[in-house]
């Protein structure tokens, strides 16, 4: 079956292919020309913003030891116990820096005191977690957030607690969470015309089977207490190298694209974070983009949440705004499914859902965000969403409705089979350069 499909792809005339990719190539040229040396926030004259940096295990260990000893000295002096760190990002203390097109954390000192009965528990958790992270740094090993939680379930009670305290430690030491040698479990997937070395093993993402390669949960490694890239040598060294990255919101659409070997017909890399993206996927996307210097096209649900997830890839989330320099990839084009697509591609009524009141208020608040405001085409799409009060999910449109299940009840769409997404929708989008 797949051989047949590959044959079909090969049948596609060279001219057709050139025609389809013309717009993508124009975009790539445009992006390469406009890309400038990234400046830092301090160079831009922002003084109140807080950023964390990568630190070696040795640096992390020294930081922890200093804080621990100062804490002991404070207790012995009768001054009790308190930790000071930058308050974590939320809706109120995050600033959008338009020059860099990213969210940054505004520095606001937070003091956590043992003597305050509402903070004593968190203070204890911080101390305990510091001890655990110190062991990791000393022994130079990695651990998962889940393992850390289980190290003292009685104290942490919920993994949310230990996860939050871990972020606070990275804010206190001014290092990335990866520097603390703690990772989340692997979540993201990649497939397509991409090659890289993972811990010196050569990976070819065209040969990863149907379900793709897990994106490693940490992209660096420490050798002799120095931090080195675990993922290295990223390239697309094929006869037809990847010309764009297709960023997909959900696993279902990713699986459809992988199964159809979409990347063989249209040379590309396909990445998904399976819903809300974890840090590793966001970092990986950033590295691939920096290495290959090709455009990223996003395929997200036609609702406010789809757009929100897309914007987290681009500008970084509020909660992780202290590390957006490493995590954000500002140049992503919104390919689809956009609210305006519903009519343009005759998406059947059955696939459209009514917006809930929550959807409406969420879309309205999103519309006011500065990074959305900056893109007038996006504001227009959100306005379309709000005025039509209809949303649609990729899964419903392409996998159920245009796919087999819908065919049973509607003959009008017989031409649109399971592969409508890969054979009609995406090629048409690419050909028309229909992204914003």
């Amino acid at each position: 079956m797949s051989k047949k499909r590959r044959a079909e792809a090969a049948d596609m005339s060279q001219e057709d292919m050139e025609e389809t990719l013309k717009e993508v190539r124009t975009l790539a040229r445009h992006l390469q020309q406009s890309s400038q040396a990234a400046s830092s926030v301090s160079e831009l004259g922002y003084t109140n913003l807080f950023e964390v940096s990568d630190q070696s295990p040795e640096e992390v260990r020294k930081n922890i030891e200093l804080v621990a000893c100062q804490a002991v000295a404070s207790i012995l002096d009768g001054r009790g116990l308190a930790f000071t760190f930058a308050q974590r990002g939320s809706a109120t203390n995050v600033q959008f820096v338009p020059e860099l097109d990213r969210n940054y954390l505004e520095y606001k000192a937070m003091k956590r005191q043992f003597a305050d009965s509402s903070q004593v528990k968190r203070t204890t958790m911080m101390t305990r977690l510091m001890q655990l992270v110190h062991e990791l740094a000393k022994k130079n090993i990695h651990s998962t957030k889940r393992d850390l939680f289980y190290a003292d379930v009685k104290l942490f009670e919920k993994q949310q607690n230990s996860d939050a305290v871990l972020e606070e430690l990275s804010l206190m030491f001014g290092c990335t969470r990866h520097s603390l040698q703690v990772t989340a479990s692997e979540k993201g997937l990649v497939v397509g015309r991409l090659q890289f070395n993972d811990d010196d093993d050569f990976i070819d993402c065209t040969k990863m089977g149907r379900s793709g390669k897990n994106i490693p949960s940490f992209l660096d490694r420490s050798v002799n207490h120095a931090r080195l890239d675990r993922v290295s040598n990223i390239k697309s060294d094929y006869d037809r190298p990847a010309e764009f990255i297709l960023l997909v919101e959900k696993d279902a659409a990713f699986q459809r694209l992988a199964e159809d070997r979409f990347y063989n017909t249209y040379p590309c890399v396909i990445i998904t974070g399976k819903g809300e993206a974890d840090l590793a996927t966001r970092m990986f996307l950033r590295r691939v983009k920096d290495a290959l210097k090709i455009p990223i096209l996003g395929l997200f649900d036609s609702d406010a949440h789809g757009l929100k997830i897309l914007s987290v890839y681009m500008q970084g989330s509020e909660a992780m705004s202290h590390d957006s320099a490493n995590l954000a990839t500002p140049d992503i084009k919104w390919l689809g499914v956009r609210p305006s697509d519903l009519d343009k591609y005759n998406v059947p009524r059955e696939c459209r859902l009514e917006l809930t009141t929550h959807d409406v208020s969420f879309a309205e608040s999103l519309k006011e965000k500065p990074y959305i405001q900056k893109r007038s085409a996006w504001v227009k799409e959100l306005e379309t969403l709000l005025s039509r009060k209809e949303k649609a999910e990729i899964r419903m449109i392409f996998l159920l409705c245009f796919g087999g299940i819908y065919l049973v009840c509607a003959e009008a769409f017989t031409s649109k089979g399971f592969q409508y997404l890969t054979q009609e929708y995406l090629p048409r989008k690419l050909r028309e350069g229909d992204w914003v």
Partner: protein
């Protein structure tokens, strides 16, 4: 055939609360007690009321009637059990024969220290039922102004035994002794005895003794409750009934209500006609200013000008016929007047309500609100409220205690404005109270020249008027606000106690983690040169055993205690000075001692900075 007022009430005794023997006993006690309170308050004397209820055995009852001689010959005629031989109701055999309702008999004696009654007027005061002659408006206890007359009707109907009255209008005056009953058809007293006795004991007051039919077991609870609620709203009175003594806790008696003039907005044709018939004034201008509230000469002139050309200032009021009355009333109801003032009313007062609730219910917390005057249908209304929390006898949930013109209302609470407001219009949660699990007592006292009762029995106050709803709601909310801040303070105190416990729980964990890290650092064999001086210093202390888990724990514990002391001190300073004498957020009560009897008197008060002394003469 025209019926006399006495006949009317004899036939419709349920209007006045005499629908069943039990209820009649309850209502009789009420009427007599309320008369006694009125009598004392009328001359500004702190009321002292004794209530005695004696159950009379059937045999004794027959003897009183002179019927004890008759023998039972045809036993089948009689009920199976000798009704009234014991007060416990006995089970009847599945009712085949119809017989009179189970009823026992009670001798009810109520004694007070009030103004007493004039010797000549006593027969008329008790023996004839007047109706519809109320003139003017006034805040009044009681429902229909029938009082003891209705009790006499009931005693006549149920036992036929005469009422005994002893009364003296002053300690040097003779005591009148009157024995009378009532001729219902003639609406006239039937006097058996009307004598004067010499007053050897220097007594002033009245004593009414009446024998009536009743039923005790079902209504005992209501009687006890009534007396207790009466004690709440009248803490300056002392009452003794059965074994229950409600002692005096206040000497602060509200002044008696004054007669109020009719407010123009409450007028109707009938009332206008009555006013005109009874007025001492001769001409229209003077009549308006004298008989109507909120009307001065200037306003009266403007009103008459507006009435029309057929009216003039000096027009005699006798020339105003019913068609003119209709015209006047129609015009007046279109005018706008100043609201009536609450000065004519006599509320219990915040002080008394507070003390009354404190002494009878002994709640953990109480808040009272200062009364505000509202206008309902042209009549001034004062709504006083108290909200209490806790109390030994209190039940969980909201209990509403209702008072109308300082009389407790016990029946038909479901539609009452106070009950509805407390249960449905107050968001108790926002005042830190839970309406299901907390013991919330709500006390609403409404005083007015015309209480807007709902239903003909006057057992509750209607929930229709929005102004009244708002007044009740605001009064309750004012109390709740006070309670909220006190509850918040109690909670803060509780948190304070729990805070220390909470902090100490985490001391071992923190100490162990820190020492664990220090030990881990010290095991590191890498050269010490690269270490920060702070780290170097602490490691050195560890080596010298100047730091250990125990030392850290001890230091943290001391720190927590010191911080605790600081917080307590700070909170104490935060307390307002007038709350300094409250411990645990509970109000300490003023001590109040009173004389056991009237025979001894006090010397003049001696004031010091902290207290007042009184010496016995």
């Amino acid at each position: 055939m025209q019926k006399t007022a006495a006949e009317f009430f004899a036939e419709n005794k349920h209007f006045a609360g005499f629908e069943s023997p039990g209820k009649s006993l309850y209502t009789s006690i009420r009427e007599l007690v309320e008369n006694s309170l009125d009598a004392a308050e009328a001359i500004g004397v702190l009321p002292e009321v004794h209530i005695m209820i004696e159950e009379i055995k059937m045999a004794t009852f027959r003897k009183m009637h002179g019927m004890d001689g008759s023998e039972k010959i045809d036993l089948d005629l009689y009920k199976n059990a000798e009704a009234g031989e014991s007060s416990a109701p006995q089970k009847k055999p599945a009712g085949k024969k119809v017989s009179a309702k189970d009823m026992t008999f009670f001798k009810l004696t109520v004694t007070d220290n009030g103004c007493g009654m004039k010797h000549e007027e006593i027969p008329k005061m008790f023996g004839s039922v007047l109706s519809g002659t109320k003139y003017g408006v006034r805040q009044e206890r009681g429902k229909f102004g029938l009082g003891s007359k209705m009790v006499l009707i009931w005693s006549k109907m149920s036992t036929g035994l005469p009422m005994k009255i002893r009364s003296s209008t002053g300690s040097t005056k003779p005591i009148s002794v009157v024995k009378l009953d009532l001729d219902i058809h003639a609406n006239a007293p039937k006097v058996h005895q009307h004598d004067k006795e010499s007053n050897t004991i220097g007594w002033r007051g009245s004593q009414v003794e009446v024998t009536i039919g009743g039923e005790f077991s079902k209504y005992k609870g209501y009687i006890v409750k009534y007396l207790r609620e009466m004690a709440v709203i009248t803490p300056y009175a002392r009452s003794k009934s059965f074994q229950i003594i409600h002692s005096r806790r206040s000497e602060n008696m509200p002044p008696p209500p004054c007669k109020a003039k009719v407010h123009p907005s409450a007028l109707d044709n009938q009332m206008m006609e009555n006013l005109i018939n009874q007025s001492y004034q001769k001409v229209l201008l003077r009549f308006l200013t004298a008989e109507l509230d909120s009307v001065d000469t200037n306003l009266a002139k403007r009103m008459i000008d507006e009435f029309g050309s057929e009216f003039s200032y000096e027009m005699p009021i006798t020339s105003i016929d019913s068609s003119k009355i209709r015209k006047i009333v129609d015009k007046i109801l279109q005018f706008e007047f100043d609201p009536p003032s609450g000065a004519v009313l006599s509320p219990a007062g915040e002080y008394n309500l507070h003390l009354g609730v404190m002494k009878e219910m002994k709640p953990d917390l109480i808040a009272t609100s200062t009364p505000d005057v509202t206008v309902v249908d042209g009549h001034p209304v004062i709504v006083e409220a108290a909200v209490s929390l806790g109390g030994r006898k209190a039940k969980e949930g909201i209990t509403v205690h209702r008072f109308a013109n300082r009389i407790p209302m016990l029946f038909q609470g479901g539609n009452d404005v106070s009950v509805k407001t407390a249960n449905t219009r107050i968001n108790w949660k926002s005042y830190r109270m839970d309406k299901n699990s907390h013991k919330i007592g709500v006390y609403i006292s409404i005083c007015s020249t015309k209480i807007p009762y709902g239903g003909p029995n006057k057992e509750y106050i209607g929930d229709e008027n929005e102004d009244l709803q708002r007044a009740v709601k605001e009064a309750i909310m004012k109390c709740c606000l006070q309670l909220k801040s006190r509850l918040a303070r109690q909670e803060a105190m509780k948190n304070q106690r729990e805070r220390k416990k909470n902090l100490e729980k985490y001391i071992p964990s923190v100490s162990r983690a820190l020492i664990g890290m220090l030990q881990s650092i010290s095991q590191d064999t890498s050269p010490a040169a690269g270490r920060e001086p702070d780290v170097q210093k602490v490691l050195e202390m560890l080596k010298q055993k100047e730091v250990s888990e125990e030392i850290l724990q001890h230091r943290l514990r001391t720190f927590v205690e010191e911080a605790d002391m600081e917080q307590v001190a700070k909170r104490l300073i935060d307390f307002r000075i007038d709350q300094l004498h409250t411990g645990n957020g509970r109000i300490r009560e003023d001590a109040f001692l009173c004389l056991l009897n009237q025979a001894r008197k006090f010397e003049r008060d001696v004031h010091s900075t902290t207290s007042v002394f009184r010496f016995l003469m």
